[in-house]
Symmetry: C2
Subunit: 574 residues, 2 copies
């Protein structure tokens, strides 16, 4: 490609409305342009990257035995009514009517459509397992679209759906897809982790997220320092501290603590570490037959945070997790929020594993303005349950049994689920099994946010000058930068020669043939992140050399004119 026939559209200034680096650089590098909130035009440079990501995903899906199909963006509402998601899905589901006033949706995912398709196309266990995927435009009406294509409304997604006669077959395909995802993201040159994940509202059992590590990530991931273990913070199991709980040694004592409410205030008042304090939170339980909701006490160590997802999954706890109001607290504990404690609390008590390991601890006295010191489980609180209800913190023992946990931020670019029979049951998707009996199919679903991958890759690969693409997803692999070629016949001739030789060798090359100053050309090629550059100048030609520059390392070297094409090819990491 010649820049003179291309739409480069680079910007010198950082657009003021772009918060994250990838959004800023995608605008500056002329990759995308905003059409409306959450809607973007992909300019040529952006689309080239998007297509490369798409092709890697397609190749790995095919290699994993998935078969490509294509389903419409516009879907009839009836299927969503059948699955139950017509009611469950909030305003993120864009609903519309056609000219005959029939209701439709713009598909945010395609579970309904694929289940509908497969229930008519597949009738026997002999046709299973079947794994179908598409790479297709999706729409989700985000309440606050942001970060450019990272959280847009219209986006490109690879979504795959697998169908199975039994759970064992699902687990096998799930494993193949896990491997295919690892292969795809590795080929793209990304630093990523597959992490155990919550299945969220989509339901089902086993699930992994694929997280690209980046400081700007919205998700927090826990890793083992000594093994492959990685889990989303929502899922990472917090283990009980090692060893047995120390024995009680102090007497239970009530202390006046006027104006002491928070854990920080308690620590300051008693001059102790938060690790010696038990923090008690009151949440609502499930409604009983009369519609009454009991109040449940959740007890954590003062330095720990409640994990809502874990707490919500406890039997008997209202979903979504709902904290008791001041009135409900007063009624249940007899005091204000700052003085609640497990000792003498009349209701159900759930204690985090670490809090349950405390002895001689400090807690609220269930009397406003009073705390207890020397509190002890069993001795002072007879009935309580122990559960994992907190977020892990760095240094926690890893639940895999090896090493301790580290926390890092990540950007979710893929998600795989063992859906089970959630959709196939609602939509009566059955096949005949070996015995000739109609059997509900097991399903898996597997997504990659193709357009989001582009942004995530930038969050991980940039410097002050711009983007630094991994070779495999760069818009171009090589830039040819001829200095003052419009004045130098020799420079122009060499540039043309390298351009045709590289093109003939199948290298993806951008020939900057604009009448621009060398500084402008360098800046543009660095900004759009082309990994390899050949710089041609009069002075070099006098010495029989041109310059090769690597974008990532910034290293420059002089290479003989007749060697440069081979040299560049040897540097490519495809």
């Amino acid at each position: 490609m010649r820049t003179s026939q291309y739409l480069l559209s680079t910007l010198k200034e950082t657009p003021s409305d772009a918060e994250v680096i990838s959004h800023q650089l995608m605008l500056r590098a002329g990759m995308i342009r905003k059409l409306a909130s959450g809607l973007y035009n992909w300019l040529p440079t952006g689309l080239r990257v998007l297509k490369k990501v798409e092709n890697i995903v397609r190749e790995e899906m095919n290699r994993a035995g998935a078969v490509e199909v294509s389903m419409p963006v516009v879907q009839p509402a009836e299927l969503w009514q059948e699955s139950g998601r017509w009611e469950q899905y909030g305003p993120e589901l864009c609903r519309l009517t056609d000219r005959h006033d029939r209701p439709f949706v713009l598909g945010p995912t395609h579970e309904e459509v694929i289940t509908h398709l497969v229930r008519y196309e597949v009738s026997s266990y002999k046709q299973l397992p079947l794994n179908l995927y598409q790479i297709q435009t999706k729409f989700r009406d985000e309440v606050r679209p942001r970060f450019g294509v990272m959280r847009g409304r219209e986006f490109l997604m690879k979504d795959a759906y697998s169908f199975h006669i039994d759970k064992a077959s699902l687990v096998e395909t799930y494993g193949k897809m896990h491997a295919a995802y690892c292969a795809a993201f590795s080929r793209m040159g990304l630093d990523f982790r597959p992490v155990q994940a919550d299945t969220g509202s989509i339901g089902g059992t086993g699930s992994h997220e694929f997280q690209v590590l980046a400081e700007s990530g919205e998700d927090l991931i826990a890793f083992s320092t000594a093994s492959d273990y990685a889990a989303n913070i929502e899922m990472a199991e917090a283990m009980a501290p090692a060893g047995a709980r120390p024995a009680a040694s102090a007497a239970l004592t009530t202390v006046d603590t006027p104006n002491v409410h928070t854990i920080d205030e308690v620590c300051a008042f008693f001059n102790v570490d938060a690790k010696q304090v038990a923090k008690t939170l009151l949440v609502l339980g499930d409604a009983d037959e009369q519609g009454q909701q009991a109040v449940v006490a959740l007890v954590l160590r003062g330095d720990h945070e409640l994990n809502d997802v874990k707490a919500e999954k406890l039997a008997g706890i209202a979903q979504p997790l709902t904290f008791a109001s001041d009135e409900q607290i007063k009624a249940a504990a007899g005091c204000d929020a700052g003085s609640i404690g497990p000792v003498g609390f009349a209701g159900r008590i759930v204690v985090d594993r670490s809090a349950a390991h405390l002895a001689d601890f400090i807690c609220g006295a269930n009397v406003t303005g009073k705390h207890l010191t020397g509190a002890n489980w069993d001795r002072d609180i007879a009935a309580y349950e122990i559960a994992d209800i907190r977020n892990v913190v760095e240094g926690d023992p890893s639940p895999c049994g090896q090493g301790t946990l580290l926390l890092k931020r990540g950007i979710e670019v893929g998600h795989i689920f063992q859906l089970g029979t959630k959709y196939s049951e609602a939509m009566k998707a059955t096949v005949l099994n070996e015995a000739g009996k109609a059997t509900i199919m097991e399903m898996g679903c597997y997504g990659i946010g193709v357009s989001r991958v582009v942004a995530a890759a930038i969050e991980q690969n940039y410097d002050d000058a711009g983007i630094i693409w991994p070779d495999a997803i760069a818009p171009f692999e090589v830039a040819i930068i001829p200095m003052n070629m419009h004045k130098s016949h020799r420079v122009a001739e060499l540039a043309e020669r390298f351009y045709s030789e590289l093109k003939a060798a199948g290298v993806d090359v951008l020939f900057d043939d604009r009448k621009e100053r060398p500084g402008v050309m360098f800046a543009d090629m660095e900004l759009i992140g082309i990994p390899h550059a050949i710089i041609i100048g009069e002075r070099g030609i006098d010495n029989g050399v041109v310059e090769y520059k690597q974008r990532r390392s910034g290293e420059k070297s002089e290479v003989a004119i007749d060697e440069i094409v081979r040299h560049v090819q040897s540097q490519l990491q495809r």
Copy 2:
């Protein structure tokens, strides 16, 4: 690909709701499945064809210097209000609102979005010409979707838009795109014609349609028997008959013609050919300042048909073309519709070139139940205009001056327009010209109905057994059909060997490894139209041969086992 891991989904029965052959065969061959009216899932076999068509189009666009971009499906209404199409476009434009009640449309085309994009990205004539294209999902809410993907509501389209400093540059790019379209459709193995076309509601000047010839086509195309001339029937010019008009010889005579209304009845009554009769139609003219519409008489030869598009383009005629009501006829001509004629008609008269060549003709007398014989122009009708207002018929002289016209049916698969400044003017898309003056850009637009091409190709390539794909767009190039492979180790071994050898050679091969009777396998492979087949059987192996069969010719030949892979490769027409 192995059929055992594929979703073949062929059907034995022809679905009752499919009218045209391509729709029937796409359903039977497992290429598509209906999701809702005009909305189709593309199954693997269909998608493979669609992708091959898409790739050929992409390659030819790139070769022609067009640069790929991607614009959203969902477009903000403001742009459509700016161009004026928000009001002009009928219910085919699907309108929706987002969660904040902001109005959007599902894009049926992208003139507004691209013009909006380019007006901000391009500022100087130096950046022109620029030709941007996308291959993208479109939505058009057809009142009666039909013929499967031929006239669906959601479809895949390649749309390109070019921008120019002047008309000459537009004409040059238009020519390149014309050539690229010819190259693309030729590579797909289609029998097509570029034909002169009306620009319709999109406006602008020069335009060609690309028509795939097929009897089921909705469009009628006129060709010269002696040149490359081809035009849509709406556009094909009807020439005046050769020579001078014969002189008047008969006297004008009024004849009682009770119950004679139609041309057929007139011919029977007078025992003459329709070529001797003038047919008069009354239509409405433009409204005057008082909102009154005069009635205009259009006169054709009895054997000719009015061409609405041509008539509508006449100055002073109401758009859309509107026929006078019985009351308006009575008021203007003083008689019923069956007796109108030009002699003595008080209003404006427009005569088709062929009708204007008549002498001593028969026409209505403007008195109910009476006709005139021996009517003659000039002698009996003083004031009239001559224009081309009829459809051409087979045998007409070609307007190119060479040969006569033939008529054939076609399916429109592409359309190119010289748009001019319709959008760039409405949306103020200017660049600075060489003199530094803001100049409205000239635009071209260029569409290919990618999904429609798939159906059109079938309309042209099928037989009783199913589809006959041209190699370049076949879902698979070669089928391997092993007979009773599950009982014969030798057959299975050879099939596996050919499969890996052909795959290694980059051939697109489907290995039918199902436990099916040979008859079922032959029928399926013929139905889905794979152009080349290798049939492996025990008996052949005894003689050291396998069978090669060509789908189109039906010819079979025995080929030595060690030769077959090379033989098949030599037959491929890529």
